[in-house]
């Protein structure tokens, strides 16, 4: 599919666009202001890319001029590519103004290839984009026909590419401009002129490229397109007769899609670890919503609960016309596991906890749910590490044992300096309160861990109990005292 005036069509959607004037975008190239894109009206006047702005103004004094925005054009083309995944999951971006859609096996969903192409062009026209589309056996042939055949849409019957491509210029083979000029100099103006040439002499003169492009266009060698979004193995879609605007409508569609996806997952013996809900809006935007699970699942009721929290975040714009539910990340999930997870005595705590962790994690972020794991270190703040709670605690064998002995229940994130007298302190002031010490136990010395490359003074830890019975963990280091923890 070719969008001949992508950059200027984009400008047309802006509210300050001057109506009824030809439009161009310009860029400074080599000290001159050159036209980089021209819309249909400008092209009709002979204002073509590469012309200087002065020449363009000479042809049409009222031409509307905008600075070129290649990054913006590319980003907006990428958004359009995402939206096109409503037709097929295999969508690739072709240069600055084209898209490739691999509609193999998808066309029947939209009433055939011709209907799909018309639907796509009709919708793009609705967004204000002029599009030329071609359906052919190979990406190369479709590219050539969309750009070089003077027709808005072309549908090539299988096996007729050779004849259809013959009258097109050699540039339709996606060759560099210099090579095209060289071919033209030799009188090889059309693709058909290349057919009778011996491949060896063509290669001697021009390298492998023309032959390769010819083979690609004629479908003799395969040319895979690299899709922008990886195609999920499990996906179900629902095209809506009437665009939906409300949360209830989205929820209703989701509740139809979820059991279908779960059935597909069950047939494949898989469970979803991540689900994506893709909402195609009538204005050509794609809105995505993703949820994750801590363990593979195909329980549609549990998955629906995860979406319920987030569904309200979808902005339906002027309406959603199609929804796709996909499982981009799946893991094997046998029926046996499922039975165990449901059973009251075999599934264990982990299975019972999974729905809760999923619910909390999807709203707060899984990073906020942790399990403590012991670490090998003498420093109290390093002896424990927070691990994600999504992994079963029993499966991961701790690397170290929990430190034993009398340990504080509260450990200040940062040791707080205190004013203390004596060694061990007879009293100290912490947070503006004086604590008189009745009993002291210590010191326990912790040296810097030199194997980590640490230097510095050791810490001398003391357990102190004040007159009321509050118990503190203080350490002295380099003549200063710090409160590090509180005992229960």
């Amino acid at each position: 599919m070719w969008l001949p005036s992508w950059a200027t069509d984009r400008l047309r959607r802006k509210p300050d666009f001057p109506a009824g004037k030809p439009a161009v975008t310009i860029e400074e190239i080599g000290g001159r202001l050159l036209v980089v894109a021209a819309d249909g009206a400008a092209s009709a006047e002979g204002i073509l890319p590469g012309l200087s702005l002065a020449d363009a103004r000479a042809l049409r004094p009222d031409v509307a001029v905008f600075p070129a925005d290649r990054a913006g054009d590319a980003a907006s083309l990428a958004r359009l590519a995402d939206w096109c995944s409503r037709y097929t999951p295999l969508v690739a971006i072709d240069g600055a103004d084209g898209l490739w859609l691999d509609i193999t096996g998808c066309a029947h969903l939209f009433g055939g290839e011709r209907a799909l192409m018309s639907d796509l062009r009709h919708r793009l026209a609705g967004f204000g984009h002029d599009a030329r589309a071609a359906v052919a056996d190979s990406p190369g042939a479709a590219w050539a026909l969309a750009r070089f055949r003077e027709a808005e849409q072309t549908l090539l019957e299988p096996g007729t590419a050779r004849g259809a491509l013959a009258p097109l210029p050699a540039a339709a083979l996606r060759l560099p401009a210099a090579m095209v000029a060289e071919l033209e100099r030799l009188g090889l103006r059309h693709i058909g002129d290349l057919y009778p040439l011996p491949r060896a002499s063509l290669a001697r003169r021009f390298g492998m490229l023309p032959g390769e492009r010819l083979d690609q266009a004629l479908g003799r060698i395969d040319e895979p397109i690299s899709p922008r979004l990886p195609a999920p193995a499990y996906a179900v879609r629902q095209v809506l007769a009437e665009p939906i605007l409300h949360l209830e409508g989205m929820a209703a569609v989701l509740h139809r899609l979820l059991p279908r996806l779960c059935r597909e997952l069950a047939e494949g013996g898989q469970g979803a670890r991540r689900l994506e809900l893709l909402c195609y809006r009538v204005d050509g935007r794609l809105v995505k919503l993703a949820v994750g699970t801590s363990r593979p699942s195909r329980d549609d009721a549990a998955l629906a609960r995860l979406f319920a929290e987030k569904l309200a975040r979808i902005d339906p714009g002027f309406g959603i016309e199609a929804m796709v539910l996909a499982a981009p990340h799946v893991e094997a999930l046998a029926d046996l596991q499922l039975a165990l997870a449901r059973g009251r005595d075999g599934g264990g705590l982990e299975a019972d906890l999974a729905p809760l962790i999923d619910r909390l994690g999807n709203r707060l972020g899984f990073a906020r749910l942790a399990r403590a794991e012991p670490r090998e270190s003498h420093f109290p703040e390093r002896a424990v590490k927070r691990m994600p709670a999504v992994f079963p605690a029993a499966a991961a064998k701790p690397a170290a044992a929990w430190p034993s002995g009398n340990l504080p229940l509260r450990l200040l994130p940062r040791p707080e300096p205190v004013t203390a007298e004596g060694h061990p302190p007879a009293d100290f002031i912490w947070r503006a309160r004086r604590h008189r010490i009745r009993a002291a136990e210590g010191p326990a010395r912790i040296e810097p861990e030199w194997w980590r490359g640490e230097t510095g003074d050791p810490r001398d830890y003391w357990r102190l109990e004040d007159e009321a019975g509050m118990r503190f963990w203080l350490y002295g280091q380099s003549g200063s005292w710090y409160l590090h923890g509180l005992f229960a």
């Binding site: 019972d352 809760l356 709203r363 399990r371 229940l409 994130p413 923890g485 229960a488």
Partner: protein, 235 residues
Amino acid sequence: MSKIADLAALRSLMSQRAPGMPARIPCPLGLPVLDAALGGGLPRACLQEVIPADGGAAAAGFAAFLLSRLAGQAGERGRGVLWACLGEGDLYPPGLASFGLDPGAMILLSAPSPAELLWAMEEALRSPALAGVVGEVDRIDLTAGRRLQLAAAAGGGVGFLLLRADRPPAAVSTAALRWRVGAGPERSWHVELLRRRGGRPGAWILEREDETDRFLVAAELGDGSAAPQARFSRG
């Protein structure tokens, strides 16, 4: 929708409290004096407040002690426990082991805001997989407290609101029990039961054996009938 759910939860709560209906079996704490005062053990499926009497960690330790009893006694399968703080908090998991809790088995939740903490606590209490949920909160209003109480009644676990020492607790509360815990000499705790729905308050001194970390009730400081707090709560 949610109102109907609340109503249903309220009905189930009322039916438990109705005479003649079997109540959920309380969880014995292993301290006969305390268990007797609580009518058999710590009541489940309810919300309880734990107020620190000082700036130390005794109240948190008492909550950890109650959690360990709930987690261990909940049945052969065992049930989980969750501790929620605002941000990372300053709970030191290795310190939990001396209260009989497996530090690695507890879910630690760092909530981004007080509202999210209460939401997470409510969700956790609704889950039948958890025996107890501790939430470290600054304050809680009556509506939020009622939601938590209903969630606990539905899920069957105990919700502990670990409040802050420097804020006076609300005069009105939905919690079934209100504890106040402070440190005493030589690793002992001064535990007060300020309020108990349908029962009498009390106060005890809990001591810990040095070698085994086992708790025992060293003294009963009266049944609280003469305590001023009790008179206020009835008045």
